[in-house]
């Protein structure tokens, strides 16, 4: 077994002489600091919470049109026409964390997806691209499925500006 001891010693000493411990620590430190900063990047709360990656969902249509499939039950001004997009709020407004949630069928893959209709709040109504598509909208006595409500709840201001259609999941059967 003597040869094995020598081989181990030689390779260990070689490794110790050729590599820098501080360099290794610096590398690990960089990775840790980088990983710690990722959650600090700005992001909408509606899309957080361990949802699956949905960026690659097959898409079609114009997000600035009421006919866009993700807007199947929207009631309000499209944020994409107001300086934001179909899933982000315009500058100077705050996305309401409290929302109503429904589903829309994607015409490309034929699957139903879960859509969160987060309103953007804090500025007077945008007035551009009004849509009222209402698929799956329920009467006021079913408030969690109703789009006539001002969903600017839990925000600093309750003044409604525009609406988003945030894709949050796949509706499994």
């Amino acid at each position: 077994m003597n040869w094995l001891d020598k081989l181990s010693e030689k390779s260990t000493r070689g490794l110790a002489q050729q590599t820098s411990r501080r360099g290794w620590l610096a590398g690990i430190g960089t990775v840790l600091a980088g990983a710690a900063s990722v959650p600090l990047l700005p992001m909408a709360r509606a899309s957080s919470g361990g949802q699956p990656k949905l960026e690659d969902v097959a898409d079609t249509g114009d997000p600035l049109s009421c006919d866009y499939w993700r807007h199947c039950s929207i009631d309000g001004f499209l944020c994409g026409c107001c300086g934001g997009s179909h899933n982000t709020c315009p500058p100077g407004t705050e996305m309401s964390p409290i929302t109503w949630v429904g589903t829309c069928r994607n015409p490309v893959d034929g699957k139903n997806y879960v859509i969160s209709y987060n309103d953007c709040c804090g500025k007077t109504p945008c007035g551009q691209c009004f849509c009222n598509t209402n698929q799956g909208d329920r009467p006021m006595y079913r408030p969690d499925k109703n789009n006539d409500i001002n969903w600017c709840l839990g925000t600093e201001s309750t003044v409604y500006h525009c609406s988003t259609s945030v894709l949050i999941g796949l509706a499994v059967e």
């Binding site: 919470g49 361990g50 409290i98 879960v114 999941g169």
Partner: protein, 142 residues
Amino acid sequence: MKGRTVCFAFLIAAAPHAIGDGPVDAERARLNYMLNCQGCHLPDGSGVEDAVPRMNGFVGNFLHVPGGREFLVRVPGSANAALDDASLAELLNWILVTMSPGELPPSWVPYSAGEVAELRSAPLREVEKVRAGLVRSIQQHL
């Protein structure tokens, strides 16, 4: 004690068929959460201060105090949900195990469809008052 709790929660999570009296489909429970709960309770169950109760890291505490187990089914969000009893039982068990494993009593028994059916037939009228009382009991228990 905490270690035991965590281990138990892990076992439950690893053996999904042990939850409730029907097979549990975590994907289905999560979809039902998205469609029926997260609009107010938020995607991770963290709620909104002074407006929507937090479930994440807390809701399991209700199972430690008398009346708490019943409360979770009799609140409007549960009792009035457009879900049948088996789906509601599955969803409640999923919420407890997923969002509050650290607070669950080690010997908790998952909800069954039958238990949920009986409890939701008597929905709460004074929810905030009942909740405040239960939270006081929880604080004394901890």
